[in-house]
Amino acid sequence: MNYLGSNAIKNKKVYSNFFFGHFKNFTRRKQGLIGLMIITCILLIALFAPLIAPYDPVDDVSYSNLNAAPSSQYIFGTDEFGRDIFSRVIYGAQVSIQISFFTILISATFGVVMGLVSGYFGGFIDGLFMRLVDGLMSFPPLLFAIALMAALGTSTKNIILSLAIVYTPMFARLIRGCVLSIKEKEYIDSIKIMGGSKIRILFKHILPNCVSPLLIQMTTYFAYAILAEAALSFLGLGVPKPNPSWGNILYDGRQYMIDSPWITIFPGLAIGITVLGLNLLGDGLRDYLDPNLD
């Protein structure tokens, strides 16, 4: 541990290409690299699902192979309708990742705007926003999402909407804190003296300094969103059937746990690996972008 906080800085090499340099330096640490590899694989699987999956996840029912054990024909086995679990898990990646992606995109966007406005302008609007944030953050996330789903009704769009409502305050609070710490810095004062407009200061000089914590939090919350979506679908409040999502497949497998455990094992494994990848990526990003956090 040197004065600057970590060995990460010492070990950084300077590369001429900006993106390549960041990529090279980031992947010098193992955990970030492993996380990045896992997530890239999962994204590719989701993207090329129609090419990878041997069967259709919904329509290919085979009544001669109900709850069949894993075999060369069905490598993850089949479910109660004789649908291929492997294909369902592959397509499930698409569904789960899409939902989490849009959830994070929406909550980060609104959170950033709320946080910037709140932190920079302060006063009444800050008080109003922060009371709202405090209030919303008093609900346990999953429970709040369940209550919202109960009101909105189950659909893919509504999962995204409810999870976005649950996560937005967390992004708002993060960005507000970041803005508050930066706006007092001397260089912001000097930009003000030079006549920089408020909007320019906010987006050109403050926001870029909040990108690191934002990226880290987006990665972590992506993992939370995957888990939350799976939990909602598992409770029957998520993605409508027969569409496959990882939580849905688990929900179907629940009643056949004794005789056909493969229906439960594989989708859970998919969730676990994805979340593990995101956590590793998040840890890697934290080490790389914010060495002072240890």
């Binding site: 009371r131 799976a230 939990a231 593990l276 240890d294």
Partner: protein, 316 residues
């Protein structure tokens, strides 16, 4: 200290007010007519009118809210649309079960996590550190409901060591209570264990590097005293924060775990009410849970002052 306490308690008022507004607004998030959503598609116009009357849905929003808040202050959360029982008594019946489960899960995770985190920090960058961090990482990555299903598969269905479902109250039999709650508490608690382990390790690493620890070591104190008395006490503030925050996660996670293990707690009640579209109960549950969570946060803040006396001078 009293000044600080009063300030903290006063700060709860706007939070609780926002919470109640949000809870009140939940039924107004229902697309279309809330009365129709509660009664289903077969409802007659007469039934709809009666339901709107009963729920006060035909009054202006502000009037509805004032009535709702007035009832709330008097401890009246309405009554269930299904069983006609008062929401408060429904919740009061189920709450002890859930708290029993949560406290068990939390104690279990603390007992595992703090020693693991301390060991990882003391043996920084050794195999002990790597193994504990790997366990913690697996802990935070596995969905609890999946773990619950696997645990049932292995320990209940195949080995028969623990019952797969059900709940025996603590007052009836301590042994049976623990036996029934072992699997649910484990599946609920291991994520917290992962989070607390990571937090303990990183704060302990910070504390162990500080000068006063070197001074204590130089004085000749035993390693055990240095680590568990001098260092851990100062590392406790962030650890307690994370434990407090995780209480909220546990209150959410219990919905899924209770449904898997058929434990009749708040979580099961929540799921049943969602399936029955019993909105007053849903509102009541999230309101009570949010209030509990808010007070836990307050309690955590007060605990800080014990572990870090500087805080009360800074804030109070």
């Amino acid at each position: 200290m009293t000044g600080y306490l009063i300030k903290r308690i006063l700060a709860l008022i706007p939070v609780l007010l926002t919470v109640s507004v949000v809870v009140f607004m939940i039924i107004h998030f229902i697309p279309g007519d809330p009365a129709a959503a509660m009664l289903g598609s077969q409802a007659t116009e007469e039934q709809l009118t009666q339901m709107r009357e009963q729920m006060g849905l035909n009054k202006p929003l502000m009037v509805q809210f004032s009535i709702w808040i007035l009832n709330l202050v008097q401890g009246d959360l309405g009554s269930s649309l299904v069983s006609d029982q008062s929401v408060l008594s429904l919740i009061a019946n189920r709450l002890p079960v859930t708290l029993n489960l949560i406290i068990f899960a939390m104690s279990f995770s603390i007992i595992i996590a703090i020693p693991l985190g301390v060991a990882a920090a003391v043996k920084h960058n050794t195999s002990v550190d790597y193994v504990s961090m790997f366990i913690a990482l697996i802990g935070i990555s596995i969905p609890n409901f999946w773990a619950a299903l696997l645990l049932i598969m292995v320990f209940a269905l195949n080995l028969g060591m623990f019952p797969a479902t059900g709940y025996i109250p603590l007052t009836k039999s301590i042994v049976l209570n623990l036996k029934h709650l072992a699997l649910p508490a484990f599946s609920l608690g291991f994520i917290q264990a992962g989070i607390i382990t990571r937090m303990t390790r990183s704060t302990m690493l910070d504390v162990l590097r500080q000068d006063y620890i070197r001074a204590v070591k130089a004085k000749g104190a035993a390693t055990f005293t240095v680590v568990f008395w001098h260092a851990l006490k100062n590392a406790m503030v962030p650890i307690i924060t994370i434990i407090g925050i995780n209480f909220g996660l546990l209150l959410g996670g219990t919905v899924v775990v209770e449904s898997i293990f058929s434990i009749n707690g708040i979580g099961q009640l929540m799921i049943q009410s969602v399936l029955n579209r019993d909105y007053p109960v849903i509102q009541g549950i999230i309101l009570v849970i949010a209030a509990i969570y808010v007070f836990i946060t307050l309690f955590v803040d007060i605990l800080y002052t014990y572990f870090d006396p500087k805080i009360k001078f800074r804030k109070g």
